[in-house]
Structure formats: structure tokens, C-alpha cells
């Protein structure tokens, strides 16, 4: 079913809703409705270490007449690069939710603690990635071990593995995309375009900034670089995404 997501019609696969506490700046329903307006035939809901948003996302998608792609963004406590995990069947889904439950039990209230061991250990909870679509998210400055991490994902996890590429108008996007493309080529995994959406329309940037301030316990004037540079993290039409990634078909 997710295979459709990579066909010419674009689907946003990296979506943070307001079910990620103080990060996402839109309801899953709003995101689903906007995705339908833009002509996407599905929208993903990938909150951080939680599946809490998928039910509302599902309802919203149903109303909007599109599909929802259920998933989670896995953030690790030990510096392992984040992953989007999109289960394709019920077993894969239940293994993902078990992983999250265990992670939550380890940590304080409303937190979830995961490490690389959870991901890679053959007899661990995750029990390898069979049935999952995994999309790695490159860190800000991909170190020398990032390509090896990708190779390890590809080789050890029995799942479809991709590398997410974003074009967020940060100035160095051309450079960064070229670098990611090179890494992906080296690690022999395909590149997939996402926009790391945090809200459905650009007008929500202000709300996202306010959430950042609450999260970071700072005032808007002192928040500095923790705020968003621009208002580009919204859902974008397929043509726009195709233009941004035209060098990487």
C-alpha cells in the first residue's frame, strides 16, 4: 500500500501533528483536509515516538476522502539518527506499538526512551524491520558514520529502507541534497522527498514558533535560532515538490 506513495503522485511522508507535544502546529484533521485540497491521495501521520495522532488522522482522511499512512518518527536517546517507521501490515504495526510501549515504560511520564539496541538487536522487541518501511532522516551534519548506519539498516533490517531528503529553503539545500544523494548512492538505498511538515499551511508558522518558546521555556525575543527560519514546513503540492527535487528524479 505504501508503494503508491512513491509513485509520481506526491504524498507527504514526514508529518508532525499536534499529537507531538509542543512541536506540531496543526491537528491531524487539518493536515488531512489540506492534503486532499492539494490533490494528494494520502497523508502520513508520523508523530514523534507516538502513534497517538493516527486515529484522528484516520478520521480526518476519511472525511477528506484520502488515505492515511500510519507511522511514527522514532527519535533515539543515544544519538542514533531518527527514522520514520511506516508499518505496512498489522504484525508490523503491533511490533512498532510494542516498541513504543517499552520505550515509554523506561522513561518519565510522556517520554519515550529508545536506543539503537532496540532497533538492531535480532531478538529485541522490534524483532527486525520485517513489514516496515523505514526512512532515515539525516542529521544536521551527517558524520562519517552516517553512511555506515544506512548500510547497516539496509543489510540488517528486513525492511524497505529509504533516506529522506528535505528542501527547506535553508540556503544550502542544493549542497545538502547533493550530499544526501551521494550518501544514498554509496549506501545503495533510494532517496525519498519529504517536507518535514509541521503544519498544513504557512500561516501556522507563528503558532509553531510559540510552541517552540513554550517547549524551550524562553521568550520569543530570546529564542533566536530555536525558532523557524521560514514558513516552508507546510504541505506542498506535488508539482512544487517535483520542482524542488528536479535534480533527483
Amino acid at each position: 500500500m505504501t508503494v503508491d506513495a512513491f509513485s509520481p503522485g506526491y504524498v507527504e511522508l514526514q508529518v508532525t501533528t499536534n499529537f507531538t507535544f509542543l512541536q506540531g502546529a496543526a491537528h491531524p484533521e487539518e493536515l488531512a483536509a489540506q492534503a486532499a485540497v492539494l490533490g494528494h491521495d494520502a497523508v502520513a501521520v508520523t508523530d514523534h515516538n507516538t502513534l497517538a495522532g493516527v486515529v484522528r488522522g484516520h478520521l480526518g482522511a476519511k472525511t477528506a476522502g484520502i488515505r492515511v499512512i500510519v507511522g511514527t518518527r522514532l527519535n533515539f536517546a543515544d544519538g542514533t539518527p531518527s527514522l520514520l517507521c511506516l508499518p505496512t501490515d498489522l504484525t508490523a504495526y503491533s511490533r512498532l506499538s510494542r516498541l513504543l510501549t517499552v520505550g515509554k515504560r523506561r522513561a518519565e511520564k510522556a517520554q519515550c526512551r529508545l536506543s539503537a539496541t532496540d532497533l538492531f538487536s535480532p531478538d529485541g522487541i522490534f524483532a527486525r524491520g520485517a513489514g516496515q518501511v523505514l526512512i532515515a532522516i539525516a542529521p544536521e551534519n551527517p558524520g562519517a558514520d552516517f553512511p555506515s548506519f544506512l548500510s547497516q539498516m539496509r543489510d540488517e533490517l528486513e525492511s524497505e529502507t529509504y533516506l529522506a531528503a528535505t528542501h527547506l529553503y535553508r540556503g544550502d539545500d542544493t549542497r545538502r541534497l547533493a550530499q544526501l544523494a551521494d550518501i544514498a548512492k554509496t549506501a545503495r538505498i533510494p532517496l525519498v522527498a519529504t517536507n518535514d511538515a509541521h503544519y498544513h499551511v504557512p500561516e501556522r508558522r507563528a503558532l509553531a514558533d510559540v510552541l517552540t518558546c513554550i517547549r524551550e521555556h524562553c521568550t520569543i525575543d530570546s529564542a533566536g535560532h530555536r525558532l523557524t527560519l521560514n514558513a516552508e514546513r507546510h504541505l506542498k503540492p506535488a508539482a512544487e515538490m517535483a520542482r524542488l527535487f528536479r535534480d533527483y528524479p
Binding site: 562519517a144 544550502d172 549542497r175 551521494d182
Partner: protein, 311 residues
């Protein structure tokens, strides 16, 4: 990446400079190496003499390599805001930054006050190694008294032993005034850099009135390097390059180099900064311009890591 030998040489140069300075040696023997052995070896004393004033001219008005037609394209250099060009600013900032680090002393920058015009920008200066937090800006009203007042300020600053470098954007300069500056620099021990925003017409060097500066440079922009990593699109800008002409130097011969700014602190592949401070000068190597695409040139994937993580 600079070769290991290069780094060693640079370190030796710096140690030597520190020793020269620390031993109470005569002030006029102390030098500020540029960190490029080809230039440092050419300069008497192994670098720019500190306790002295040097001149940096702006070459972008009349780049010698350009055709006459090009020359007339910039009839008035003043349009650039009467401030030194980017390359001159960067070159001076790089020299000042090196001195700032070597002497752990602040930098004074004297410039005309031009409301609404271009001004020094800290983040940009920092990328050439000059720490803006340790910089004192002196603004002199750009009226008829400008030259007199700016020279006074530069002399005062040079005379102060607490100051490492004094940069001054002064256009006009008489022989007597430049002698006074030289004397002040000898007293204070700092490095004086005169940035002369307008370099006059063609036979510039002879047209400029004689003065007592120890050396005279002219810096112009050169088309920059292509991006370093072979996989990057060639249309992206790479490291900045300048033509550095040493027009004259006391006790040495004129020479011209093609310089490149090697920003070690900037990961040239990603364009983002690593934690290291700024880099240094390097000669333009003709080899680097045409990188031979080789498979082995890429860092091999370290598989050792993978073993460790799997267990």
C-alpha cells in the same frame, strides 16, 4: 585539507613568532606570518613586520589582467560606498585575525562614518578569523577634517601597547603623516594596516604619493574555486580567491600570488560550520581545480563501527 607538513610549518612559524615576541627582542624584528610558506619565505623576516604599518590597496577598480574596456567599466570606485571592497576587507580581517590570536590583543578598526552605507559585519569577519567580540570600531565623521582626525586616532591606537592591530580606512596620506604612524607603531608594537579604498588610475603604484609604509599590497577578487566535493554541482560557489600583489616591500622584491581562503572551520562539503574556528590562506593550486573523479577519493565506509553496534 592542508598537508601535515604544511601544518607543522605553520606551527613552527607561529612558535618562532611567539618566541621572537616573548624574548624582548627588538620590536621591529617581530613578524606576523601569513601561514603560507611561499609568501612568508619571500617576505624579509618571514612575514609582515609588526610594529609597522602596511598598506592594502583595492585592486578591484583596475585589475591589471582586465582589458581596457573593462577598466572603464568602473570609472568611479567610490560607488562601492567609499569602503574597501569585500576582498580587501577579508584580507585585512584575516591578517588582523591572525595577529589577534597570536598576541591575544584587540583590534581597532578606524573607518569613516557613513550613515546608511555598508559597514563591517561581524559574522562575515569571523569567517575570516577576526573575532568581532574583540574589536573596537572607531567612526570618524566624514567631513573635511576626516583625514586629520582619522590619522590622529590611528596614531593614538598604534601607540597604545594594548592594541594588536589597527586597521584604518584612510584614502589620503602624506609622507609626514605616514612617518608619524610608522613611529607610533614602533612605540606600541602593534600592526598597522592602512586600507586605501580608492586605488588610483593605471600606473597606481607610482601615482600614489610616496610614504613610509613597510609594504604595499593590492588585493583583487579572482573567480572563485568550484566546490570541493566532486559530487556537488559546479554552479555552486566555492572558496573565495584573490590576487595578492605585493607592489613593494622594504628589503624585498615585488611578487604576485593567487591566494585562496581555506576555511577549515567550514566543512566545504556541507557548507555548514564545524566547531573549529576559521581557517587560513593557501596558494591556489592549479591541480585542485580539475579534480579527477576517482572512486578511491571518497571516504570508504567504515564497517568496523557496524560490528560494534550490532553486538
Amino acid at each position: 585539507m592542508p598537508a601535515e607538513g604544511d601544518i607543522l610549518q605553520r606551527l613552527r612559524g607561529r612558535i618562532a613568532a611567539i618566541e621572537r615576541a616573548g624574548n624582548g627582542a627588538r620590536a621591529d624584528q617581530a613578524c606576523l606570518p601569513l601561514g603560507v610558506s611561499a609568501i612568508d619565505d619571500h617576505l624579509p623576516g618571514g612575514g609582515l613586520a609588526t610594529s609597522a604599518v602596511h598598506e592594502i590597496l583595492d585592486g578591484d577598480g583596475n585589475n591589471k589582467t582586465k582589458t581596457t574596456e573593462n577598466k572603464t567599466k568602473y570609472p568611479v570606485r567610490r560607488k562601492f560606498g567609499e569602503s574597501p571592497s569585500g576582498p580587501v576587507t577579508a584580507f585585512a580581517a584575516a591578517l588582523a585575525g591572525r595577529a589577534q590570536q597570536a598576541r591575544a590583543a584587540p583590534v581597532i578598526w578606524i573607518a569613516p562614518r557613513l550613515p546608511g552605507r555598508e559597514s563591517l559585519y561581524g559574522p562575515g569577519l569571523l569567517s575570516f578569523g577576526l573575532d568581532p567580540a574583540d574589536l573596537v570600531i572607531v567612526r570618524v565623521a566624514s567631513d573635511s577634517d576626516f583625514t586629520k582626525t582619522a590619522l590622529w586616532a590611528m596614531e593614538e591606537a598604534l601607540r597604545a601597547p594594548a592594541v594588536g592591530v589597527v586597521c584604518a580606512e584612510i584614502e589620503e596620506m602624506g609622507l609626514t603623516a605616514s612617518r608619524r604612524l610608522q613611529l607610533a607603531a614602533k612605540t606600541g608594537g602593534g600592526l598597522g594596516l592602512l586600507l586605501r579604498p580608492v586605488s588610483r588610475d593605471a600606473s597606481e603604484d607610482t601615482a600614489l604619493p610616496p610614504n613610509a609604509s613597510i609594504s604595499r599590497w593590492r588585493i583583487s577578487a579572482l573567480p572563485g574555486a568550484p566546490p570541493e566535493a566532486p559530487w556537488l554541482p559546479a554552479r555552486l560557489p566555492g572558496q573565495p580567491r584573490w590576487k595578492a600583489e605585493l607592489l613593494r616591500v622594504r628589503g624585498g622584491r615585488p611578487k604576485t600570488w593567487q591566494l585562496e581562503w581555506r576555511d577549515d572551520g567550514h566543512d566545504t562539503d556541507t557548507g555548514r560550520n564545524s566547531s573549529q574556528p576559521a581557517g587560513g590562506f593557501a596558494l591556489v593550486s592549479p591541480l585542485r581545480d580539475r579534480p579527477v573523479p576517482q572512486k578511491t577519493a571518497r571516504p570508504p565506509i567504515p564497517h568496523a563501527n557496524r560490528q560494534a553496534r550490532a553486538n
